[in-house]
Point group: C2
Chain length 419, copies 2
């Protein structure tokens, strides 16, 4: 289809306008032109299209300015939906979010890791279908599924690159297969990156902020967002802070590195350290054979919050190690904000935030330039799943696909590999 | 001036086309359209403008394809020039580069740190003028000056934020003042970031590469380039690897952090360690009172290369610590390449490259995704100065200034602050 040069960049233009409307919550056409640098004619045309597609609606009038009253536009939250599917070791969390990124339905279930992908993925698909039905969401309004997980991935092909949760999952085309089962596009991405972008979409961070997200559930991951987009590096395997070295003289890690953060901080390390503290282990009747150490972690954190001295000391030390890594992340990426997301931060309360903030305040090389704030995620435990859904919304609506370097598209249903 | 929507993005379009011509060395209009995704009509118009401005020239014909022979275009290297001024502690290096980024003239002088900026900057300006005259470069073709230095900066205001080289330099408007003396735009930037982008402009890296540069002269700095642009973070104070912690149990550093890389590796640490090795210190007659420890560093490196066992052990250990930090940089930024630049790498020979490559090969978490190569800079000791000149070329010609978020413009002569 021949297009005049005037609209050669339309997907990016549309995407930019929609993203500014999203961030502003409601905005006039005049303000849109000022914010985007686009001409009034372009704004009128793009807004007309967005109104026609139902993505935005007119929404009252702005404050009187002495001239003609300005009609405001805003997102129409029920115009489109995204689905987030978060695979976290043995748990699967599914959320449906509206165009504004707000969850409208949620479910979770155990046992994913004990099934091979050929049996787990149809089960996940059935859960997604059931949730959409329960939430009475029209299938035609669902843009796709963001499937998010941890560890190295090949986003383009939609495969996990490590034997997690089991060997059978490695290199299995999880995104294409789930897309086939659902008849919806599916994109694969990193859980921490997803959690990071969720903050942006929901307006919890300044639009032009450069921020990092430390994501702690079972392990520790990270993501960085620059100008409203996830920092991708060369292969979208970025900010894996769980496996950076905080101690050059530390122990070898199975990952190949030495003195890795996850062996010092994080839930499994904390539980191990608590088991090595006889008084504490006895008081909490910690179970060394517990399948799910997240339960033991939550109990140690609760004890710390209730005032148990030994528990508190372990949690604070864990937080200092995390703060140490947060300093490295902030220095290298020149961040102005760090968000703490994921269920382990959610259950552990405010100790992590307070101690990490202390470490940043004390140790930042560039603190003469600007401070770095630490805040909890607005999305708490479901940050990764919500972020997965947001990645789909962003991918389909606001990133703009004018050029190939905009990145892989979600894998459409029926395709073996992403284009 | 009213512009039709078709050309609302012209600066970015021109910049993109020019950058593709630069990278390709010579290219036909058909190939340009394919590479950029722009229409043939747009390409023809933009190339006509670039030919008219003298930035590109026609350059013979491409290989026969059976159809009409394709005329090639290429950069006209003598169309424009950039000047790089590198302030490194007490030394100032000045280079003039052509549009292709190739140095056409160079000078250096000592003593910058022993003068207050009010006296040093006019001296620098006089040296720039003299060099341009010597090189017979038309003033009208000089796009501006890239002034590069180390440590935290406020690029927008053109000031250094730390008392380096002396307290009088902190917060002095170095870029605006130099611009006034020269009657040329001056931008301020980081030496390691400059060294990094120099590789890109000269075509020493793949255009879509995500790579890091470790820059070692007196201290250790870093820069990251993504898609042909320096990664800026929130304030352009990024990748300061000299002051990331490699040892959570290490000593406090004056910068506020603990176990900083520069206290383990790098020229001053190596000289200190050599002075603490009696046999070596005696053999090399190392001078503990030496003003310029770079001379002592070069002698230790030369001894190591000549086979001195103790010197070799120190250099290799220093390289392992650097490799350790390189792993962190590569993991967090998801790099596919690391470039080693700066005079200390240049004098020390290939040991650093070999050992850092070993560390990366051994320790990378994401090595299942892709390996990371380590290469020496094509620009060696003058990488920062050359990079400073390249930053001006890029800023003025290929980054495109369609929107405010494209970053600060060079400070024009006569302005107290960048817009």
């Amino acid at each position: 289809m021949a297009r005049s040069p005037a609209w050669a960049s339309r997907p990016k233009t549309r995407g930019l306008v929609l993203d500014v409307i999203r961030a502003a919550r409601s905005i006039s056409r005049v303000e849109l032109a000022a914010a985007t640098g686009l001409t009034g004619a372009t704004i009128s045309e793009v807004v007309r299209e967005l109104l026609g597609d139902g993505l935005v609606v007119e929404a009252g009038r702005g404050a009187p300015t002495g001239g003609k009253p300005r009609t405001l536009v805003q997102l129409n939250p029920t115009a489109r939906y995204g689905v987030g599917v978060h695979l976290e070791r043995n748990t699967c969390v599914i959320v449906v979010v509206d165009l504004a990124g707000r969850p409208v339905a949620r479910t979770s279930f155990q046992g994913v890791a004990s099934l091979p992908p050929e049996r787990a993925l149809p089960m996940v698909a059935a859960q997604v279908d059931a949730l959409l039905t329960t939430a009475a969401v029209e299938r035609g309004k669902v843009l796709g599924v963001g499937l998010v997980s941890y560890g190295p991935q090949d986003r383009g092909a939609g495969v996990l690159l490590t034997p997690q949760p089991t060997e059978e999952w490695r290199d299995h085309p999880v995104a294409p297969r789930l897309a086939e089962h659902l008849g919806l596009p599916v994109l694969l991405d990193n859980d921490a990156a997803a959690a990071a972008i969720g903050e942006y979409w929901l307006g919890a961070v300044e639009p032009h902020s450069t921020y990092g997200c430390i994501y702690m559930a079972t392990g520790i991951g990270g993501g960085v967002v620059v100008g409203g987009e996830v920092y991708r590096g060369s292969s979208s395997n970025t900010a894996e802070i769980g496996h950076i070295s905080i101690d050059v003289h530390g122990d070898d890690c199975p990952c190949g590195n030495v003195g890795c953060l996850e062996n010092y901080a994080g839930p499994s390390a904390l539980v191990r350290q608590a088991l090595e503290t006889p008084g504490l282990a006895r008081r909490l009747a910690l179970d060394p054979a517990a399948d799910n150490f997240l339960t033991e972690f939550a109990r140690i954190a609760a004890a710390a919050n209730a005032g148990d001295t030994e528990a508190r000391a372990l949690v604070e030390r864990s937080a200092r190690y995390l703060g140490h890594a947060a300093v490295t992340l902030a220095v290298l990426f020149d961040l102005d904000l760090i968000v703490l997301a994921g269920q382990s931060f959610a259950v552990a309360g405010s100790t992590y935030q307070a101690v990490i903030q202390q470490e940043l305040d004390r140790r930042l090389f560039s603190r003469r330039a600007h401070p770095v704030r630490v805040v909890p995620s607005v999305n708490g435990s479901d940050a990764a799943a919500i972020g997965g859904a947001v990645l789909v919304l962003q991918s389909e609506l606001t990133l703009g696909r004018g050029r190939p370097e905009d990145g892989p598209r979600p894998v459409p249903a029926g395709a073996a590999e992403a284009p």
